[in-house]
């Protein structure tokens, strides 16, 4: 092991932390061509004991977990003790599977049923497979996959982390996350940011770092220092203290140093998010994703069902804005009750507004339910369509929104075509919101899920910043406010650039709001414009990022 080595990945959740490495074991796979058991009864006994060992371990972890993680772990222990699963594994053993293969096949049979049900049921598949992987490891005498129980503050290192692993990490003991795979918009990145755990993804050879090695993780710079210099640790400690002190004073509406208002809003995806974000110090919701209402359903949700859900989401935001994105489904997120068939390339297919145009009744019911919920709660509901590319699409959508009795109709700008022609696309709508993750995907022709192409999706790519500028310029012609509701909005430096480009509001994971609010309060609107000019004159993403960082106020950069 080299001393004082630094490995660079992509910082996806800010802050820093230092501690010993805990490696997360990869899932064990049954050996290929595992032989049929010589003694079936003994094999059945062995498999049932493996399941029970998993259940006992999960119960033990549940006993020491907090109120969020304990029910998940208890439910997983229940799966490991499930009579149906035991029966299925026993049948497989009798049919000639080896023990590990029998466990895997029994689990996969249930997983297939749950995936076919979709929605909430499909979401349980990750938990079921986790139970299966643990039982396979137990049957093979290998270490349990996943995060081992933590005994001291540790840096969690893995090839990639399952969302369930990230969600159940103890915030006090899991002080940072480092992964070798993963991407900017992977679930690990999003969950780590929501939970305020510093995280770096795409770190070369992260899994080869010896367990117990002391490392310092910088989630802002995207660096992992192995066996770090004491001076680096001291610098990080000072920065953490300054950051905590600075953020503690960051409250109230988003304002630049000279008083230009930039509302700071939350991205939410359901009732629980709304209830959590409602009491927080933010000015409303800038992106309410409504997919969860539809993706779990086998029949189209009724007007009453939808009204009830939207009312629950709106209720915490009486008197504040809630920007709603209408159904964003497509071939990659298919609807059980409105399947338009498979597509070769779902990201470019009939998705978002294109799906709504194929199924206008679905959209009209959603709009009516949103209008009823807005009336019932007094929330300032504003509705926008995803995947708008043309003037005709924007105007078709706006007319349906207004016909449903909703006051404000808008469009998402994710397709470069809409940004380039925004002067016309936005002429007859009330607002626009830029989805920077998809806009980057379509501008750079790079799959968002392709972790190895993350560099192309760097939100500092000058081409993406240019497309955002074009969208803002078109909006300005008609005084149509253009917000941002993507990952970029939650990056304090990039947020300044966006405001300088003319972005009117910023929507992000609520945990990111304090740092963005602080960044705004330290810079005037004219200074933001200068930072935008600097970013746009850079030749590469890295140059843009570095130049803006160098030009921003020290009071901000010294805590990032």
């Amino acid at each position: 092991m080299l001393v004082h080595e630094t490995r660079t990945g992509i910082g996806v959740s800010g802050g820093s932390a230092a501690g010993p490495v805990v490696q997360v074991a990869p899932p064990a796979a049954p050996p290929k061509d595992e032989p049929a058991p010589a003694d079936v009864d003994a094999a059945i006994q062995h498999v049932l004991e493996s399941f029970e060992a998993v259940a006992v371990e999960l119960d033990t972890r549940a006993a020491g977990a907090d109120e969020h993680a304990a029910p998940i772990l208890t439910a997983n222990a229940m799966m490991a003790r499930d009579v149906g699963l035991h029966g299925a594994a026993t049948d497989r053993l009798k049919a000639g599977d080896g023990p590990a293969t029998a466990i895997k096949n029994a689990v996969e049979a249930y997983a297939a049923q749950f995936e076919a049900l979709g929605g909430y049921f499909a979401e349980r598949v990750a938990d079921l497979r986790d139970v299966g992987a643990r039982a396979v490891a137990a049957a093979l005498g290998l270490p349990a996959p996943g995060v081992p129980p933590l005994t001291e503050p540790s840096v969690i290192v893995a090839l990639d982390l399952a969302p369930a692993d990230t969600a159940t990490l103890d915030r006090e003991l899991a002080i940072a996350i480092v992964t070798q795979a993963g991407g900017r918009t992977s679930h690990t990145a999003i969950l780590a940011a929501q939970r305020g755990i510093p995280a770096v993804v795409q770190v070369p050879d992260a899994t080869s770092i010896e367990p117990g090695t002391f490392v310092a993780v910088d989630g802002d710079a995207g660096e992992v220092a192995i066996d770090p210099d004491p001076a680096l640790l001291e610098a990080q400690r000072v920065r953490r203290e300054k950051r905590a002190a600075a953020l503690a004073t960051s409250t109230g509406p988003g304002l630049t140093a000279d008083g230009h208002a930039v509302p700071l809003l939350a991205n939410i995806g359901g009732v629980a998010d709304a209830e959590e974000a409602g009491p927080q110090d933010l000015e409303g919701v800038g992106l309410f994703r409504t997919e969860f209402v539809f993706l779990s359903a086998t029949v189209a949700p009724t007007l009453e069902e939808q009204t009830d859900i939207y009312t629950k989401v709106f209720a915490p935001f009486e008197g504040r804005r809630v920007v709603v994105r209408t159904l964003d489904a497509g071939a990659d997120k298919p609807l059980a009750f409105a399947d338009l068939g498979e597509e070769e390339n779902p990201a470019l297919g009939r998705r978002g507004l294109r799906l709504s145009q194929a199924l206008p009744d679905l959209l009209d019911t959603q709009l009516k339910a949103l209008a009823a919920a807005a009336n019932a709660t007094g929330a300032d509901a504003r509705v926008m369509a995803p995947m708008v590319a043309t003037v005709d699409e924007a105007e078709w959508f706006a007319s349906r929104v207004r016909a449903a009795g909703l006051k404000k109709a808008g469009v998402m700008i994710e397709v470069p075509a809409a940004a380039l022609r925004s002067e016309h696309v936005l002429e007859n709508v009330d607002f626009a919101s830029i989805g920077t993750n998809d806009l980057a995907q379509y501008t750079m022709a790079t799959d968002r899920m392709a972790g190895e192409l993350s560099e192309l999706l760097d939100p500092w790519q000058p081409a993406v910043i240019d497309v955002v500028a074009a969208a803002c310029a078109g909006g300005a012609v008609h005084d149509v406010p253009v917000g941002v509701c993507g990952e970029s909005a939650g990056d304090p430096l990039l947020a300044l650039v966006l405001v300088g480009l003319g972005v009117a509001s910023l929507s992000m994971a609520p945990s990111k709001v304090p740092a963005v609010r602080l960044a705004l309060s330290l810079h005037t609107l004219e200074e933001c414009r200068e930072l935008a000019r600097i970013a746009r004159s850079a030749r590469t993403a890295q140059d843009a990022h570095e130049a803006v960082r160098a030009a921003a106020k020290d009071a901000l950069t010294e805590i990032l």
Partner: protein
């Protein structure tokens, strides 16, 4: 054999937490209870995976069957449980 029909009260349907609470109650009863959707095959209600594989959504009707001592009282208790919005509690 005692039988009951009840509409699922949980807003999220019979999965995860609501399924867990229901299955725990069945297991505690010690009886072999089955649960089925209208026209569907009965599932062992002691199996959380079987119960979840039903895919019962909010307001779907399910049929419970049980045999043995106290079966009527056990089923009445389970019906009351399924009527409630277990996810909201």
């Amino acid at each position: 054999m005692p039988t009951r029909t009840v509409a699922i009260g949980s807003s999220v349907g019979l999965h995860a937490r609501p399924a867990q609470i229901f299955v725990a109650a069945v297991q505690e009863s010690g009886l072999a209870v089955t649960i089925a959707k209208a026209g569907g095959a009965p599932m062992d209600a002691r199996s959380i995976l079987g119960v979840m594989a039903l895919g019962a959504k909010n307001s779907d009707e399910v049929e419970l069957n049980a045999d043995g001592d106290n079966a009527d009282a056990v089923l009445d208790g389970l019906v009351e449980l399924l009527k409630r919005d277990l996810d909201a509690e």
